[in-house]
């Protein structure tokens, strides 16, 4: 029983980050009908900036939580800027152009990974833990830091969910995801909504990157692994579906933690691919996808 809780707790921790990541992918797909394979680069940049800036701030005498907050703000700002630039000069022109956006995002991955390597170097960085200690829940032990990470991810997910369900802007975004021409016929400014959607997706990836930095090793290719998992999660959940992204992410994370416990991580990856194939054979549109 205790083991079961430990496995589930581990799964939820990984899942929380996958959720933030895949929400962005699904949001971008919903509103612009493109898959941004370079989504992971926003995540990587934010994590890299945190990994570089935080030790600097800490050595300047700032307490660790403050140093983290400062470096996270810098990382998120850097990612948002990158997001805005790639949108204005790239993705904005490729709305509803699946092939064009595919080529652009692959190009961006190569370009940005090269740039990151040039600027940040190939060293594997790690960030000092912000908070020490562990918490025990139902016999499962969790580091306080990871618990906090989960909490922030859950709050963000909840906020996004509520905003989409309740605010006029959120409803406009959902409408534009269903039928962007029909949305424009209601006066919804599609161009503005698409940019907002893309930037919200970027923000989610940037926050996820900043959160992951203290609990994992940060490299210039950090985002690629998350991109694959996040992409699988949205395919399983149904491309464009918000609940689908959440369920898909938790599903992938649980498979990974169960597989990782009983076998080894590489078998867990194989299990994920096998289960994805089963899901897609039974429900090609994904668990929560329409038609």
């Amino acid at each position: 029983m205790q083991t079961a809780f430990q496995i589930i707790a581990t799964g939820l921790q990984i899942g929380a980050i996958y959720v933030l990541f895949s929400l962005g992918l699904t949001l971008t797909f919903g509103i612009m009908r493109i898959v941004n394979f370079a989504h992971g680069q926003f995540f990587t940049l934010s994590a890299l900036v945190v990994a570089v800036v935080m030790p600097y701030l800490a050595s300047a005498g700032l307490p660790l939580p403050a140093a983290f907050a400062g470096s996270a703000a810098a990382g998120i700002a850097a990612s948002l800027l990158l997001g805005l630039v790639t949108y204005q000069w790239g993705f904005r022109r490729l709305q509803h152009d699946f092939v064009g956006s595919f080529i652009l995002s692959l190009g961006l991955i190569l370009l940005l990974e090269g740039l990151y390597l040039e600027v940040f170097g190939g060293a594997v960085r790690s960030v000092p833990p912000i908070i020490d200690g562990t918490v025990s829940v139902f016999g499962a032990s969790l580091t306080t830091q990871r618990l906090l990470l989960c909490f922030v991810a859950m709050v963000l997910t909840g906020l996004l969910y509520a905003a989409l369900a309740l605010t006029p802007m959120g409803k406009a975004l959902r409408a534009a995801s269903i039928d962007h021409e029909a949305a424009m016929l209601q006066g919804i400014p599609y161009q503005r909504i698409a940019r907002h959607g893309f930037m919200i997706a970027t923000l989610l990836a940037a926050v996820a990157g900043a959160l992951i930095a203290p609990v994992s090793v940060v490299t210039t290719t950090l985002g690629s692994d998350y991109l694959i998992k996040g992409f699988i999660a949205v395919i399983v959940g149904g491309l464009g579906s918000i609940p689908g992204a959440i369920i898909g992410s938790l599903f992938i994370a649980l498979v990974e933690s169960v597989g990782g416990y009983f076998f080894d991580p590489s078998r867990a990856s194989i299990a994920i691919f096998a289960l994805v194939m089963v899901v897609l054979l039974v429900r090609p549109q994904g668990l929560m996808g329409h038609g």
């Binding site: 959902r174 039928d179 021409e181 424009m184 016929l185 400014p189």
Partner: protein, 240 residues
Amino acid sequence: MTPTELSLEITDLSVDFGVVPALRGVSLALRKGRIATIIGANGAGKSTIMKAVCGLVKPRAGSVSLFGKPITGLPADEIVVRGLSLVPEGRRLFGSMTVRENLELGAYRRKDRLRVGEDFARMLDYFPALRDRLSTPVGSLSGGQQQMVAVGRALMSAPRILLLDEPTIGLAPAVVDDIAEIVKAIGRSGVDVLLVEQNAEVALSIADYGYILENGGIVAEDESAALARSETVRRAYLGI
């Protein structure tokens, strides 16, 4: 006729899809206080006219003006703000959203919140059947009720001109009559209506005057009664 008597004026409108022409120099006008119709067969170009007017399709040539001001080339979301609303072919509702959400989205750009509430109430008077369905996802309504939501959503922008693209297609005869009555009532309430139909009988019973569209060009225009008497219209569109 002076321009001020026209609420919508389409001049020499041409649209191509690739190299295929869909509209070849269409000119027509919507007069204030009247209901006009465009009748045409499958593929004649009716929906293309609607889309070009609303800004969803860019014309190759020609112009569209609203109350004497050109709107050609404006994005669709700006044209709604200027007082023109379209009930598109196939309704294009936001299926997974509720009836209320669909209707509210129609008023997305309005600033006069007080009036929006009044219009919402008035719209439910037009369509009392929707009153109990406001929290239902619109995709689970019947075809007739969905058409009511589509018309209601367009009215929520408080348009001065309403365009309807085949609002009666696929509906049961009794529902077709309901929709026809509502379109006439909308016309009487001071909204100028341009109605597109394949069903010439329904269209001519609603509209004051009409245009016949064939292969992307207007081939006839007249008062509805005259069109209904015309030998060619009767043979081609009324099946008599």
